[in-house]
């Protein structure tokens, strides 16, 4: 292209270089999400009003909103939501705490790793819901079996995420700690744990989502109150408005959990580039 002949006589055969970079760099475009959400709602509302979508398959969004307002007014919302939230908090707190603790032990001690990694691998693929009848026998039909189910469900992914995170802590930082004669406890507490935090947080995201799924499953199989029970009851009565209201509550619960976790993560992992 730059041979002397063509460059010397100026005007002939000049072209600007075609741009072929760019892309592959996700940008945050804040307005698209809400707009798409609104468009879906409008299409849904208009579709059901015009009869394009049968109300047997989908309720009117405005009716769902009405049902939700009723729930709020009668106080029924809290009667279902509070037990759910407390089950979710207690169960996942137990599961995640134990999971992080065991994960750290696996990460630190080869003997624990050799013993427990196969055990965790064996528990992980069991659909935890299948164990609910067993838990009901062990812990009773009350809250105990629900806590146990959620705890076990959040435990295994947390273990796997945590020991992976500990394994991924930069070894040069650990060597550095040793080279300054830091105690073993200092190395674990000041280098390994903070270094594992990013991995632990991504484990929490997965585990808490699983926690919500199991919460609903547990409440569907044996509870009078709770969002899961509410949805199941609405489903058996073919009350689509209430069913959708319940599903929206779950959705909001999930978004809230993820938002709160994101806030904590932003504080704790401020140091990340």
């Amino acid at each position: 292209m730059l041979s002397p002949d063509t460059t010397q006589n100026g005007g002939t055969d000049q072209r600007t270089v075609r741009f072929r970079g760019g892309g592959f760099a996700p940008k945050s475009i804040l307005w698209i999400g809400p707009v798409l959400f609104a468009v879906i709602l409008v299409v849904w509302e208009v579709g059901t009003r015009l009869g394009l979508i049968s109300t047997l398959t989908l309720p009117h969004p405005t009716d769902v909103l009405g049902t939700f307002a009723d729930l709020w007014r009668t106080g029924l919302l809290w009667e279902h939501l509070l037990p759910s939230i407390s089950r979710f908090l207690v169960g996942s707190a137990m599961g995640c705490t134990a999971g992080i603790a065991i994960g750290i032990l696996i990460g630190l001690f080869s003997h624990v790793r050799a013993g427990l990694v196969p055990v965790v691998a064996a528990i992980f693929p069991i659909p935890k819901i299948a164990l609910l009848p067993l838990f009901i026998i062990w812990f009773g039909i009350g809250e105990g079996s629900k806590y146990a189910l959620i705890a076990l469900g959040t435990f295994t992914p947390m273990v796997v995420a945590t020991y992976g995170a500990v394994d991924n802590v930069d070894r040069t930082l650990i060597r550095m700690g040793q080279s300054f004669s830091l105690s073993w406890a200092s190395i674990v507490w000041k280098i390994v744990l903070p270094g594992a935090m990013p991995g632990i947080f991504s484990g929490l995201r997965v585990s808490l989502a699983i926690g919500i799924i199991l919460l609903v499953a547990a409440e569907m199989l044996g509870a009078r109150h709770g969002v899961g029970a509410y949805i199941l009851e609405a489903g058996s009565l073919y009350d689509l408005e209430r069913l959708f209201a319940g599903v929206i509550i779950l959705s909001v619960l999930g978004v809230t959990v993820s938002f709160l976790l994101g806030q904590v993560e932003r504080r704790v992992l401020k140091w990340r580039a």
Binding site: T172, L173, R175, M176, Q178, S179, F180, S181, L182, S183, S186, K190, I191, P194, G195, M197, K270, W271, R272, A273
Partner: protein
């Protein structure tokens, strides 16, 4: 405190990586160790500081480390090894906390080493906010904080661009002029070796042995960039290393 390396040999399984290395590291001097890649210079440095054990031979401390030395053998790493979640001062206090130094005492040391490395304005900065040169300054400040008897420097300038490297070399020379610290300075960069080393130890390729020990008499603070005598030494070292380096390069390709 002097250090003596006695008959250091090392194997990884059947692979002999180091053979019978004897070396004296006298107090108050900088010993540069150079050699082709894979000759085990960094491994040797890890032996000296007790982070790894040689198959045979030993490292001997002659005399006591100076009073008040918290960590006699202290490393400066190539990749800085700063905790990204701690600020500049937090990274330095990390190595003091374990010696029971807190509050005012630790505060004095931190202020002192930050002043000596010209970092006082950056106390609260996180590592991600600092350039490579600044990060290595923090790592040097951290090393100074424990008042080492010997600094073990593992390619401390290799991750930096050449201009920053010049600046940091000047800083190290100024620092040495004031403190007369002892150091083992591992590098693959001949220019750094002749600027900073009182003694230059040339290692052969694997299995690493000492090929040559070159002393440079000229005082550190009189050595300049582009100094004719230093260039001569550098050239002499390069002739020594050239074939080895080429052979080591081939070895890596066949490995």
């Amino acid at each position: 405190m002097d250090l003596l390396l006695q008959n250091i040999s090392h194997h990884y399984g059947a692979l002999e990586v180091m053979r019978d290395i004897n070396l004296e590291i006298p107090a108050g001097r900088i010993v540069s160790i150079i050699g082709p890649s894979g000759c085990g210079k960094s491994t040797l440095l890890r032996f000296i500081g007790g982070l790894e054990r040689p198959t045979s031979g030993q490292i001997v401390q002659v005399g006591e480390p100076p009073a008040g030395s918290l960590n006699p053998l202290t490393y400066v790493f190539q990749d800085f090894a700063l905790l990204p979640w701690r600020t500049v001062e937090g990274n330095i206090s990390l190595v003091l906390e374990d010696h029971g130094l807190n509050g005012a005492k630790s505060e004095n040391i931190i202020a002192d080493v930050l002043a000596r490395t010209k970092l006082s304005d950056f106390r609260k900065a996180l590592p991600k906010q600092l350039s490579g040169g600044m990060k290595q300054r923090v790592a040097i400040a951290r090393a100074l904080a424990v008042n080492p008897a010997v600094m073990l420097m593992d390619e401390p300038l290799s991750a930096l661009d050449s201009q920053t490297r010049e600046l940091l070399m000047d800083d190290l020379i100024a620092l040495w002029a004031r403190e007369r610290f002892t150091a083992v300075y591992v590098t693959h960069n001949l220019q750094e070796a002749v600027r900073l080393g009182h003694v230059i130890v040339v290692l052969s390729r694997r299995p690493g042995t000492i090929r040559e020990i070159v002393e440079i008499d000229r005082p550190l603070d009189e050595r300049q960039m582009g100094d004719a005598d230093l260039e001569k030494v550098q050239k002499q070292l390069w002739t020594l290393m050239r074939e080895e380096a080429a052979a080591a390069d081939q070895e890596l390709i066949h490995a």
